[in-house]
């Protein structure tokens, strides 16, 4: 075993040890937990980068039955590892200031580090069962991180646990099917055809993957968590790490494990899920009145592009989807960080109370502009280039998918124009007169990520050629052209200009940036749907909860009935019989003799077969 192989263990063990240490260190020792977390993530980051471009495998005995402790580092996993390590390092830095005076700090840092460890494990795992082991570990830290949020976050944590738990259950079943069909759980040895039971296996694993990424219909906990959980959590898990993990797994199962063909119905299914996710979530995002809640719906909406891209099964779409994955992790976490910055300084994320603070918080505002432009797909920021690739591929598969994607872009930019207008521009609220810029610990991560957005946009061939394309390999990319498509760029620019015009029009009609989406919110057809959506009529979790409540009410009545049989009916019958029999024993001699004689009569008659 070379020393490099040991690094694979380090990637899991160091954050794990850091998490334990952070948990043990008492709260009154200031700064130590933060330092431990920062050190652990820094070491992880360094290890991840030093392992980049290496191919390593490690096999150890574990549970037997073909379930071994197998880790595999290759280009794709190394890329995800670096991204995870970089993001976690920046978030720890950010949290240093953001979480300084919050309760449950030790739990926060240890959950964060455990999450890093579990993510590294899940990414490195080359055995489906081992991956599932780490995957479920993430479920626990997810629950913990939401639960330590504001008071009342526990319900949201339960909701997340149940939703993610159910999709993890699907993943588990899918793994069972895949392992059964392939005869091995080692991922790099699995190569299955999609058909018959294999399709079921694929769909189950796909559910696990896309729900981890936050796609419809497994998304409903995310907007709730946006309000309840501590903010770095949102930037950390739903915005970046979970996207990385979910899309990583989706790419693995649809590229490596199952040979998904562009013409297959499963590919169309994936694309349909992607398109619906884009539109539904962005429509919800458009009418949100809370900074974090609005962002959380975009975190769902953008998953649609990645699923759409990978779902096309065309090399250009897959490259686009994966590129969008890393881009999204950057701009969305940056957006959440600006949200945290605003929350920390003004004490609120309610758009009604914000406004006019752009001069007070210039750095935050600039970072917001860059990230918002990225997510809207404004050239030359990174989101533009990844979206162009997805457009290209989806147009090739079907115009309707392209239309959904471009409509999504239009609505995304409209909603970010609204958000920026309402949060930073417009009339200043009196309460915000003394707002200051955030501390450097919070600004540095924002600046770094925003800068990366620019770098990945302007010099987009760098990440594309060095990070994304090698994932697919030369073979698959052969004969595909990645050059700019003039028509698509024109259409995108038209959509963006349309969004600006729409915004100007909406501000004029509705009176302010804050109300910029009111005419859609109250449009004749949408009003009813929005009302129902806000009352959670469409939330699968609540629907299932209602069904479960109905079932349990029914079960409760049955249970009452059974209880009644045992506690009332049986007791009454027994005591009644007992009373009758006791009443018959009067103590009368003659009666007893008569009984005996009657008994004798019966016995004799029976013996003589007269009965």
């Amino acid at each position: 075993m070379t020393i490099d192989v040991l690094y694979l263990y380090f990637l899991i063990a160091i954050p794990l040890a850091g998490g334990v240490a952070a948990f043990i260190v008492p709260n009154r020792v200031k700064g130590v937990k933060e330092a431990i977390a920062l050190a652990a993530t820094a070491v992880t980051l360094w290890s991840a980068f030093s392992l980049f471009k290496q191919n390593l495998t490690l096999t150890g005995e574990w549970l037997s039955f073909g379930i071994n402790f197998e880790l595999r580092l290759y280009h794709f996993s190394a890329f995800i590892l670096c991204a995870v390590a970089a993001f976690s390092f920046l978030f720890v830095l950010y949290s240093w200031s953001f979480m300084w005076n919050r309760p449950y700090k030790n739990q926060f840092y240890s959950y964060l580090l455990f999450t890093v460890a579990m993510t590294n494990g899940a990414v490195l795992a080359d055995n489906l069962v081992l991956m599932l082991f780490f995957w479920e570990g993430l479920l626990l830290t997810l629950f913990g991180m939401i639960a330590i949020g504001r008071p009342g976050a526990f319900r949201t944590a339960i909701k997340a646990l149940i939703i993610v738990g159910i999709s993890d259950l699907c993943l588990m079943m899918g793994i069972g099917i895949a392992g059964y069909m392939a005869g091995t759980f080692t991922i790099s040895k699995i190569s299955l055809q999609v058909g018959g039971i294999g399709a079921i296996g694929f769909i189950l694993m796909m559910i696990g993957a896309i729900s981890k990424a936050g796609s419809l219909p497994f998304h409903t906990w995310i907007p709730d968590a946006a309000v309840d959980a501590p903010l770095p959590f949102m930037a950390f898990l739903p915005a970046s790490l979970e996207k990385l993990l979910g899309i990583y797994l989706l790419a693995r199962i649809s590229l490596d494990m199952f040979k998904l063909a562009p013409e297959s119905w499963l590919s169309t299914l994936l694309m349909a899920i992607g398109a619906v996710t884009i539109l539904v979530a962005v429509m919800m995002a458009l009418v949100q009145k809370d900074y974090k809640r609005l962002l959380s719906y975009h975190a769902i909406s953008q998953v649609g592009y990645m699923v759409l891209g990978i779902g096309t099964c065309l090399p250009i779409g897959i490259v686009g989807g994966l590129f969008h994955m890393i881009n999204h992790a950057m701009y969305k976490s940056c957006l959440f960080l600006t949200g945290g910055s605003v929350e920390k300084q003004t004490g609120t994320t309610d758009l009604a109370k914000l406004g006019g603070i752009w001069l007070k918080m210039p750095v935050t505002f600039v970072c917001f502009i860059i990230a918002a432009a990225s997510i809207s797909g404004v050239p030359p920021f990174n989101g533009f280039f990844s979206k162009e690739l997805v457009y290209d591929a989806s147009l090739e598969r079907g115009t309707i998918f392209y239309l959904a994607a471009i409509l999504g872009t239009f609505l995304t930019s409209a909603s970010f124009l609204k958000l920026g207008h309402a949060a930073f521009l417009g009339r200043m609220n009196e309460e915000n007169r003394n707002v200051k810029e955030s501390s450097w610990a919070m600004l540095i991560p924002m600046i770094v990520i925003a800068a990366m957005c620019v770098v990945f946009g302007v010099w987009n061939y760098l990440p594309l050629d060095n990070l994304i394309k090698p994932i697919l390999g030369e073979e698959r990319l052969a004969g595909h052209h990645f050059g700019p498509n003039t028509m698509l760029i024109t259409l995108t620019v038209i959509a963006l200009i349309g969004a600006v015009l729409h915004h100007l029009f909406a501000v004029k009609v509705n009176g302010s940036g804050y109300k910029a989406s009111d005419h859609i919110r109250h449009a004749p057809f949408f009003e009813g749907i929005y009302n129902k959506a806000e009352n959670r009529v469409f939330d699968p979790y609540d629907i299932v909860l209602k069904v479960v409540q109905g079932v349990s009410r029914f079960g409760w009545w049955i249970d009452r009935g059974i209880d009644w049989i045992y506690n009332e009916f049986c007791v009454r019958v027994t005591t009644g019989t007992s009373f009758l029999i006791r009443a018959a024993h009067t103590g009368s001699y003659s009666m007893y003799v008569v009984w005996s004689l009657v008994g004798l009569l019966f016995v004799v008659l029976m013996l003589m077969k007269r009965f």
């Binding site: 005591t575 024993h585 009984w595 005996s596 009657v598």
Partner: protein, 474 residues
């Protein structure tokens, strides 16, 4: 040496009643204890193959039998008599009373030994009567109204039984001319068409059912058991009625009537009725001993039910249950004796919370009741299991299910007993109660250990002891 089991108690009674009254009063208990221990040892030795024909048997030409059934019964008799005597040590204060008691117990012991060893109907009747006469006096021992009433009930119903059995024997003599089991069995097969034979059998069986306290012939039993002094009820419930009633039915059903179908049907019905009536009646009783009496009826029902099933396995189960019953029911009655002697009452509405005061009695009562209810791994579980398996194998599914359900009833009423007597907080009168004396505690412990031991070691003794019981079935 078998006849020694009859003659030695007789001899002891003679010696005890020689004119050295003062000395004999002191020695009486020693005699009794010696005899019972000797009987237990003798049976065990015989079982292990060390006994045999000896001097005594050559000179007394009583036709005695000594098969596996007899041995099991002799062992039970020995254990229960020993228990009774140990309890009497504690419950009788005056030596004079105890002297009378020991004499009566020895008479009963002789009667029971004779019952299980003799091989003709008339001798059987005679020894049953010896046991019964001794029992009458034992029940009436305290001479209060209650005791006299209980004894009188027993005498009246016992007299009915006597009439039935004598009538039956006289018919047998008329038809067959012989009362030995073998001759009677042969005659019954041959003269099946004779209209007198079946009524004769019916009369004898009913007489035995009265002695055994099977529903609907059980009227005397609850009053007699509860009125008898504590030590006497151990003897009565533990072995006396089982020997004179149930053993005799087992013997007749297997070796005389030889699997008569109608008789089996009667026994099945009587058994199941006994189980249910006994259990339901026990459920609402207020008196500790009365509840145990009804429980006794219910448990006897299991034995009769198994007998009615008629297969070898069922009869093994019946005999095994008889043995187990003699142990755990004696134990429960010893517990009641302990409670009675310490708190002065057996009225459960006045008792409560004695568990903390009488730990050994509490614990052993718990073991006995779990064994009675058939909770594994105690002895009672195995015998009930054998019975139920036998019933099921023989296609008597309904009976098997009722037998299982009745176990739940058994658990219920004994749990009620345990709760009302031992659990909870003691009332004011219960505050001063202490654990019973050494004799009782020792007896309780021994009986509880037997119950646990037989249960836990069952997998080992099943083949070596339990299955060979069937050797008496030719």
């Amino acid at each position: 040496m078998l006849s020694g089991l009859l003659l030695l108690p007789l001899l002891a009674i003679f010696i005890l009643n020689l004119p050295f009254r003062g000395l004999m009063q002191k020695l009486s208990l020693v005699f009794g204890l010696f005899l019972s221990v000797w009987q237990i040892t003798f049976v065990i030795l015989l079982w292990m193959g060390r006994g045999g024909v000896d001097y005594w048997s050559k000179h007394f030409t009583l036709s005695l039998t000594c098969d596996s059934l007899t041995l099991v019964l002799l062992l039970s008799i020995g254990i229960v008599v020993l228990t009774t005597l140990l309890v009497s040590l504690q419950t009788f204060s005056s030596e004079k009373q105890r002297f009378g008691f020991v004499n009566l117990v020895l008479v009963a012991m002789m009667g029971m030994n004779g019952t299980v060893m003799l091989t003709d109907l008339f001798s059987l009747y005679v020894f049953i009567e010896i046991t019964a006469v001794s029992s009458f006096i034992l029940i009436a021992f305290q001479r209060d109204t209650n005791a006299l009433e209980g004894a009188l009930k027993y005498i009246i119903l016992s007299a009915s039984a006597t009439i039935m059995m004598l009538l039956s024997i006289s018919i047998m003599l008329l038809v067959v001319g012989d009362t030995s089991f073998a001759a009677a069995g042969k005659a019954i097969n041959q003269s099946a068409g004779n209209p007198l034979v079946m009524p004769a059998i019916g009369l004898f069986v009913c007489g035995l059912l009265i002695k055994g306290g099977v529903v609907p012939f059980h009227g005397w039993l609850p009053a007699a058991y509860s009125a008898a002094p504590a030590a006497a009820s151990v003897l009565l419930a533990g072995i006396a009625t089982k020997t004179s009633g149930i053993y005799a039915i087992i013997r007749l059903a297997t070796s005389v009537f030889a699997n008569n179908e109608s008789l089996n049907h009667i026994l099945l019905i009587a058994g199941i009725i006994s189980i249910l009536v006994g259990a339901f009646a026990a459920m609402g009783q207020n008196d500790f001993k009365r509840m145990l009496a009804y429980s006794s009826i219910s448990q006897v029902g299991y034995i009769v039910l198994a007998l009615g099933c008629g297969t070898n396995l069922a009869i093994i189960g019946a005999v095994f249950h008889l043995f187990n019953h003699s142990i755990f029911k004696s134990l429960l009655f010893v517990n009641s004796a302990a409670v009675e002697s310490q708190s002065g009452t057996t009225d459960m509405s006045k008792l409560g919370g004695l568990g903390a005061k009488m730990p050994v009695t509490n614990a052993t009562s718990l073991i006995a009741f779990l064994s009675t209810a058939g909770v594994p791994p105690l002895a009672g579980f195995w015998s009930k299991l054998i019975i139920i398996i036998a019933l099921w194998q023989n296609g008597l599914h309904t009976y098997a299910v009722i037998a299982i359900v009745a176990s739940v009833l058994t658990l219920a009423y004994l749990l009620i007993m345990q709760r009302r007597v031992f659990f909870g907080i003691p009332n004011e009168e219960g505050q001063s109660v202490r654990e019973a004396g050494f004799g009782i505690v020792l007896t309780e412990s021994i009986l509880a250990l037997i119950t646990i031991g037989v249960g836990v070691l069952f997998p080992w003794i099943f083949n070596s002891v339990v299955m060979p019981i069937s050797s008496f079935l030719k």
